[in-house]
Amino acid sequence: MLKVLQNKLNGRALLALLFFVNVSTHLHAQPEPLNPQLTQEEIEQYPVDSAQAWLTKMSQASRSLNFSITFVLLKPGVDSQPYLWRHGVTAEGIEMEELNLLNGAGKKALRVDKKVSYFEPNVPPYSLVSTTINGPFPSQFFRYPEKLFVGYDLVMVGKSRVSGRAAQQIRIISKDKSRYGLNVWLDQETGLLLKMNMFNLKNQLLEQIQVTGLQVTEQPDPFFSKIEIGMLPEVVNIEQNKKIRSPWQIGYLPVGMELVNRKLRRLSITSEVVEYVMLSDGLVDISLYIQENVKSKTTGRLVGANQTDTLFTIQNGPLNITIIGKIPAATANAIATSIQRQP
């Protein structure tokens, strides 16, 4: 038995052990990144060739490279959605990013540094102050991947070929098994995303992003030079009201998930005022609605799905609690039942 084990160690199946041996050779094989100073500094926090280093490299590449990517978003029950995603850094050092839905009337978002403008049919164009575009990607995945490190385990899986390029596969799994996982394939040369699969706790595919074309250029796309920054729509004002403490306390949050927003909202159809809470772990953002003393008797537990979003409603004492987002229903139940009056 021991001898067999020893043979196994001497063999090559236990790749993990050999990562450390491979490190030195692999490092030299990598091309120099465009912005070596910052990259070195950022990547050196993590062991070389670790999943953390790869995600940092991805983040760095998607902020500093001039690239043009086409990808397709696939969701069950919905037609496939092709997108064009371009990014460039101008000679003045201003970051520009475009995300464009190519089918139908189209939706388009343009980010110039910290201003994101949205152009959509039937809606007057508007801008928000943000460093990320709200699109089909997990909200903060490219900009702040380090947020994931708290709540998720990262596993280096192996190398394969995606979109005709050599790819590094990384698996992202929630530490407490309370959220869906991700499989991402990153381009070995640039670190850019090639493919992303979201899967549930039974390893069934929920959502997929497949890159179909990737081009990295020296100069930013000529499209960016045509943009007249002064002509972009004005920033929508989000008024900050006085700070109030909510009487309700959320007892349970999944590992790595935190409260990013809390406010009162008036719902558009029913005109009811509810307390709104946004929770985020850097990968998924979920909405939590708390309503006290609902007049009608239309309460009770209800579980449903809207595309990949889970909708969960529960009556918890005097509260009607609704949770919407890309999380398993059991997790939504755990959060909802943990809400109590502040001591």
Partner: protein, 207 residues
């Protein structure tokens, strides 16, 4: 001995170029077959791809069960085969079979009834609730896994639509500038965007 394991290991790692020889060797060698299985298992473990339930060797278990099965031998001749007795026994047997059939039917009915009973205390229906992703194109389409009383259903639906629309709006207007820092007191805002802009966006909600 170790060389053949070495070759197999290399094959599974994708480092062996000529795979035919090794596969031939595996076919004829029980040791190697065992290795083949455990190497793949190790790989899945390292990648955290192990299935939730591990059911190894169904075939082997079946084979083992057959092995332990008592052999059925031809019965000896007995007094039952006397002419009179042999004509009486079938009647008795038939009756017995009827009784067996009837009791099976009762058991089935009981079983079905039990299966159809819904557990009221259970938070979710037995079917996994998340998988019914048939939402279609409308942002407010919604499938219910539990029926509410009819009079309340419309009200319930309205509220859910309101929540779904608001969720979409929140996702649209969320902004991120830097990793959020923990703070004790959280600001509570009242309806952040002016009403006009809000209703405009709600009307459209494409996708």
């Amino acid at each position: 001995m170790s060389q053949k394991f070495e070759n197999l290991s290399a094959l599974i790692d994708g480092e062996q170029l000529s795979s035919d020889d090794v596969i031939e060797a595996v076919k004829g060698d029980a040791d190697l077959m065992q290795k083949w299985k455990s190497y793949h298992l190790i790989r899945d473990g390292l990648r955290k791809e192990l299935p939730t339930e591990l059911n190894f060797d169904i075939a082997a278990n079946v084979a083992q069960a057959l092995e332990n099965e008592p052999a059925i031998l031809a019965p000896k001749k007995t007094w039952r085969e006397l002419p009179l007795v042999s004509s009486v026994i079938p009647f008795a047997k038939q009756g017995g079979q009827m009784a067996v059939a009837a009791s099976v039917a009762v058991a089935m009915i009981l079983g079905v009834q039990q299966m159809n009973q819904t557990d009221v205390e259970q938070p979710f229906n037995a079917a996994p609730p998340i998988l019914g992703i048939k939402g279609g194109l409308s942002p407010v389409s919604f499938e219910q896994t539990r029926t509410a009383p009819k009079t309340d259903a419309i009200e319930q639906k309205r509220r859910i639509q309101a929540y779904l629309i608001d969720h979409k709006e929140q996702m649209r207007f969320k902004t991120f500038q830097a990793p959020v820092v923990d703070s004790d007191v959280l600001p509570i805002e009242e309806t952040p965007i002016n009403e006009g802009a809000e209703s405009d966006i709600v009307e459209s909600t494409p996708e």
